[in-house]
Symmetry: C2
């Protein structure tokens, strides 16, 4: 199977599992929960690259193709956490974005309070899914929950968002922009943490050895840095229509990015270097890493 066919197959399995695992409400549900679930699905089913689920499924497959099915709930939990972080990040008190994945953001399609609660609900739902679907394998359930909660916590995902927010405010007040070290901190935590967790969760489901899990974590870290540098490059060079979100926002906000700190050409080089480091880690893994290697390349050359 070539790369695109396989990628599309994994994305399709993710979409089906999303619909199955994120609860629908009974027809007689009260208006509030019905609205809440509609908002959750608005953001969850807006398409998107499904990068985190695909990474989890591909990592699980390193232990054998039979692990893909077992990794689907973990993949969906990761996507729930990712989507919650986007919904809250888009809120007026944060980035105040109108457009996400080419559709109105959750608070634009519904309202702020509904978006706030829909984000809360998706974060919670991630742990519901892990605790319920892996209940027969409690050690695995606990390990997955620990991995996901650690990646999403105040030191990593949320800490990175908070630091990012302070950097944006500094830009707004003409305080000197973030340094290269500060920017790396933001990206390692805001972006790389969840990509690391995606690969490691897949590896956990497949029962990979601790050394392989640490190699997956290292690959995720480099992939995460590369991903974020490419995001900065695309924001500076792509059009809104192609990007599916407002382009050129970073420069307008005076925000420190890899492009503002290093220039467009050097940022592209840094993304390529991080991708090469990710590839080197992936090549050490047991099983066949062909798909993950091709995915790393695709992440580097993506246009949105």
């Amino acid at each position: 199977m070539d790369f695109s066919t396989k990628l599309n197959a994994l994305v399709a399995r993710t979409e089906t599992a999303l619909d199955r695992l994120v609860p629908a409400l009974p027809a007689d549900a009260p208006a509030g929960p019905a609205r809440l679930h509609a908002a959750m699905r608005h953001s969850l089913q807006a398409g998107g690259k499904r990068l985190r689920p695909v990474l989890a499924l591909a990592a699980a497959e390193l232990g054998g193709p039979e692990h893909i099915e077992a990794a689907l709930p973990a993949a969906i939990a990761l996507e729930c956490v990712h989507t919650y972080s986007l919904i809250h990040d888009d809120l007026p008190c944060m980035d105040d974005d109108d457009l996400r994945r080419g559709r109105p953001t959750c608070h634009r399609a519904f309202d702020e309070a509904t978006a706030l609660l829909a984000g809360d609900a998706l974060l919670t739902e991630a742990f519901v899914i892990l605790a319920q679907t892996y209940a027969a394998r409690p050690a695995l359930a606990a390990a997955l929950i620990r991995e996901l909660a650690d990646a999403a916590n105040a030191r990593r995902l949320i800490g990175g968002q908070m630091q990012d927010l302070l950097a944006e405010r500094a830009a707004g007040e003409n305080i000197p922009p973030a340094t290269s070290a500060e920017l790396e901190y933001i990206h390692l935590n805001k972006t790389a943490a969840m990509l690391e967790a995606s690969l490691v969760c897949g590896g956990l489901v497949a029962g990979l050895a601790p050394a392989a899990l640490e190699t997956l974590r290292r690959a995720g870290r480099h992939l995460g840095l590369a991903f974020q540098i490419v995001d900065d490059v695309l924001d500076a060079s792509a059009a809104t229509a192609e990007l599916g979100k407002t382009a050129g926002k970073d420069a307008r906000d005076g925000k420190a990015t890899y492009v503002s700190l290093h220039g467009l050409d050097r940022a592209r080089e840094l993304a390529a270097e991080a991708t090469a480091q990710a590839r080197a880690a992936l090549a050490e893994l047991p099983g066949d890493p062909t798909f993950l290697l091709a995915l790393a390349d695709r992440m580097l050359t993506r246009r949105n």
Copy 2:
């Protein structure tokens, strides 16, 4: 030990465990995470009744006093989820409250974005604490996580908040107020869900039998209803200074409450009836329910 001495002892153990289990940051932490952790602690260490931790610890003690210590991390996880829900509920797009537990609300003491992220972080931290501290007992870890996530999810805690929000909006637009059934739905999910989970989590740590766990759940449901009716009564009859939060808000907002639907006297009777049902359930439990029975009474006669 008399009731108040014991209550104070359990609250004191909760405060100590909170300080130990909710991570402090290293001195060289970036400004963002430092601010985030300060906001988390602002709301978490604002006092409060610690009702959910005390319920969990008291339920654990039904299996023997040695289970209190083991239940402390579960108790703190419950308090983290409760505090997150208060922080988000107080935000301008929700209830827009300035005062909570007699102190400025999180977004007043910090700002909206920081309060949003601090709430997110406390919800996540609850699962970090459960997954880490019970890692050596993975079946227990998974059961506690499932119980907490189910109570906090879109059908229960968050669903109740969403329905409550719609009811408040209806009041603002002179749409007929919530019916008694709708109000019970809100209270069963917004309030009772977490009190049920508190008792059941304590019982899980103590290894109580499934029948006892279901009795705890039933007791929690009645206690939760009683608690919320008393909240409505206090809002209508107490002073802000005594309450520690803005009093008289419900009537001003035209919000449907047990008092607006049934009158003050009948609401007090309904609270007493729910308390009697909780007491009847508690009396069926194994172990010595004396403390929990006294706690049910104290919850009925509380002044804030």
